[in-house]
């Protein structure tokens, strides 16, 4: 190893050293750039959706709107939120937190990034396929991100290409999952028992299990969809004796756990942030740790709540409804433990903590409205309305994105070795938080009034609330531009960061910022739990 001042960023030079790197921290940064790019793209599609819905009547064509909606969903789900926290923050931080020099299979880790790139390339390619709707070149999928049959098998090769992009990106997710499970099982440093690993690692572990067990199901399902399109195999085609609802079963067997692939790592980040900025030992470590596993387990038993009005049987609907409500239990356990951690803590309102508190507020609303949707009697009314849109944005955007932002800021000094501008970072929080609520709270009301989701147009009666919502989306967009400025400015001009700027206790803060190439000069030995504050 080179002398002092050598770290993973300057250990080797040149673009090839990055593209062939097996260092988990560099691969995490590669993910950061690519996921960041797709977040921007997905965000642009989101604002185009809101622009279309700014007024009653058509601003764009309905065909164009369908593409905006589909690509916003596909990109944000498969290329941003699912890889988001595990592949970026998890990759960089998790080995540091358990005292390992790398993840178990560094080459597999790199391969997972290339799978992601291949999937992303297919996704972008699908934009130019099918019936063209803009400038003679842009076509693309128009099924919405769920690729429901029979529509997806009857029209447009672009749908299949987009679905196949999700299939390839799924491999990236599986490989990350395999790597993380093996890493947590096998690479913990001496003394780091399973009851001493930080809660972020627990959350990633539960997520990785979901990734390994659920992703292949959607993989083969969308592969069958492609076969259905090419060969007309008939698994999901009633004309040939198949059952289209079976597609929904297979799809949601993955896609419901996928929701927890999105939110569990976010919960892990929040556990870290809350304890670090309250300067207080986490309340109920064991409860939070095992509730992650409980959520992962229950998530496999509830997928039918997406299908209450799909001709699924009523008894199955009842069973799924009851089981869905069980998700509320481990989730609430987490929430109350975080609140108990805050109680009598020495709370510091740094920008990562603001994001964490924003998470608590928004996620609670998202979670509670989930119970409305789990109840069949109310769901029949709310199904496919903006109430659902608002609910899952409260969970996925308000939950996961808040955690990504909080986590990115929290570990920014560790990753880059620089400090960011605190007051501008707080400003980004204000814009994102306020913009988020302005955008999505009206959608609850719209949904309860009966405005259906996915449509390109609406009745004039819904116009004023839609305008508020659209204006809010621009505020979020502005907030993320500020956040981008915070990152770029911090990286280029920030003051050098000390090893432990927040006074946190987990292992990643014991190494210099940025960490050296092999993380630890000497593998540490742990003798106590991760959060020994007071």
């Amino acid at each position: 190893m080179a002398g002092a001042g050598s770290n993973y960023l300057n250990h080797e030079k040149g673009i090839m050293s990055w593209l062939t790197s097996r260092d988990h921290k560099r691969i995490g940064l590669l993910y950061f750039y690519t996921v960041g790019f797709f977040f921007l793209l997905g965000g642009i599609f989101a604002m185009l959706i809101r622009t279309e819905l700014f007024s009653a009547g058509m601003q764009f064509t309905p065909e164009l709107y369908n593409r905006f909606m589909t690509y916003h969903g596909v990109i944000m789900v498969f290329f941003v939120i699912i890889p988001g926290i595990p592949a970026i923050l998890g990759n960089i931080i998790m080995p540091l937190q358990i005292g390992a020099r790398d993840v178990a299979f560094p080459l597999v880790n790199l391969m997972s990034w290339y799978c992601y790139i291949a999937g992303a390339a297919l996704g972008v390619a699908s934009l130019f396929m099918g019936e063209t709707v803009l400038w003679g070149i842009f076509g693309g999928a128009d099924t919405g991100w769920t690729f429901y049959t029979p529509y997806s098998i009857k029209f447009s090769a672009a749908n299949i290409t987009a679905a196949f992009a999700a299939f390839v990106a799924g491999f990236s997710s599986i490989l990350t999952g395999v790597n993380f499970v093996a890493t947590v099982h096998k690479l913990r440093c001496p003394g780091m028992t399973m009851n001493r690993i930080p809660l972020f690692v627990w959350a990633l572990y539960a997520t990785a299990i979901l990734q390994v067990l659920a992703t292949p199901v959607v993989g083969i399902t969308v592969a069958l969809l492609a076969m259905e399109n090419i060969f007309g195999i008939g698994f999901f085609d009633p004309e040939l004796g198949g059952d289209p609802v079976l597609f929904q079963h297979f799809f949601w067997f993955y896609s419901h756990p996928a929701v927890y692939i999105m939110i569990l790592p976010a919960m892990g980040v929040i556990s870290e942030l809350i304890t670090a900025f309250s300067k207080k030992t986490i309340f109920g470590y064991t409860a939070i740790a095992y509730s992650s596993l409980a959520i992962a387990g229950v998530s496999f038993l509830v997928w039918g709540h997406h299908m209450y009005v799909s001709s699924q049987s009523e008894i199955a609907g009842l069973v799924f409804s009851i089981l869905t409500m069980f998700v509320g239990v481990p989730t609430a356990i987490k929430l109350f433990n975080w609140l108990a951690t805050l109680y009598k803590g020495s709370i510091q309102m740094q920008s990562p903590m603001l994001y964490a508190l924003g998470f608590l507020f928004i996620f609670t609303i998202g979670g509670v409205t989930g119970i409305f949707l789990a109840t069949i009697a109310t769901d029949v009314h709310f199904h496919d309305t903006y109430f659902v849109v608002a609910h899952f944005h409260y969970v996925m955007v308000g939950g996961t994105l808040m955690a990504i932002m909080g986590g990115a800021l929290y570990w920014f000094p560790k990753i880059t070795g620089k400090m960011f501008n605190e007051s501008i970072a707080r400003m980004s929080f204000v814009f994102i938080f306020v913009g988020f609520n302005v955008t999505f709270f009206p959608q609850f009301i719209l949904g309860a009034m009966g405005m259906p989701r996915r449509y390109a147009d609406y009745l004039p009666a819904f116009e004023s609330l839609n305008r508020i919502s659209s204006l809010g989306s621009y505020v979020i967009g502005f907030g993320f531009i500020i956040a981008l400025y915070v990152f770029i400015n911090g990286w280029r001009k920030g003051a050098p960061a000390p090893a432990n700027p927040w006074g946190a206790k987990t292992l990643e803060w014991t190494v210099p910022s940025p960490p050296p190439h092999e993380n630890f000069d000497k593998i540490p030995t742990v003798t106590a739990g991760p959060y020994e504050y007071r």
Partner: protein, 212 residues
């Protein structure tokens, strides 16, 4: 790579033993996702089999169970030689290890050749999946669905056989260079696990598709 009988393990492991254990577990975790992937097809098969029992029974009769049984024996033999390949790596017998791995690849090839004859017969007779089906349905309205399952399940399995053969070829070349010994044979073990899984799936495919 290795010099003599010591293996230089990667920097993030404590020992060669640690690397071996971790790698093997990684393969097992990967295999669970393989099982889930095939599991979807099996679940679909069982559901439709239950819906159209007579049709599936008739479809199974259209396959030649003798070829299926032959392929089962071929794959079981390949599994045996694979495990012997691992065994001879463990006891530093390079020649026998290479020989057994070669037999394993040969068995895989035989399997694929038999499969080729089965496929070409079906394609010739118009017994193709779904909307490409042109043979007589003999009154079984949804008979094409049976052949969809037949082609999807054996097709996906066949892809795995080919992938497995490539992987075994890779470890065979490395074994031939003398890279494996009692302290380091992790790739052979991992590829072996994959190959046994391919065998395992065929063990279920054979009775379900050819016999019932």
């Amino acid at each position: 790579m290795s010099t003599g009988n010591t293996h230089h393990y990667a920097h993030h492991f404590e020992s060669a033993e640690h690397e071996y254990e971790s790698s093997k577990q990684g393969v097992w975790i990967f295999l669970t996702s393989e099982i889930l992937m095939f599991g979807v097809l099996f679940v679909g098969y069982m559901i439709y089999h239950h819906m159209y029992p007579e049709m599936f029974k008739y479809g199974a009769k259209a396959l030649d169970w003798r070829l299926g049984a032959l392929n089962t024996v071929v794959l079981l033999t390949s599994s045996l030689t694979m495990v012997l390949g691992v065994h001879y790596c463990q006891v530093n017998n390079k020649q026998k290890a290479v020989m057994n791995l070669a037999i394993t690849i040969a068995c895989g090839a035989i399997f694929m050749v038999v499969k080729y004859f089965e496929y070409s017969h079906k394609i010739h007779a118009g017994k193709l999946p779904g909307m490409w089906f042109t043979a007589d349905t003999h009154g079984f309205e949804n008979l094409p669905l049976y052949f969809s399952f037949y082609f999807m399940m054996t097709g996906l399995h066949g892809i795995h056989v080919l992938a497995g053969m490539c992987l075994i070829l890779w470890v065979l070349i490395r074994a031939n260079r003398g890279e494996f010994n009692e302290n380091y044979y992790t790739p052979v073990e991992g590829v072996g696990l994959f190959w046994h899984l391919v065998d395992l799936i065929w063990i279920f495919l054979f009775p379900l598709l050819y016999l019932v």
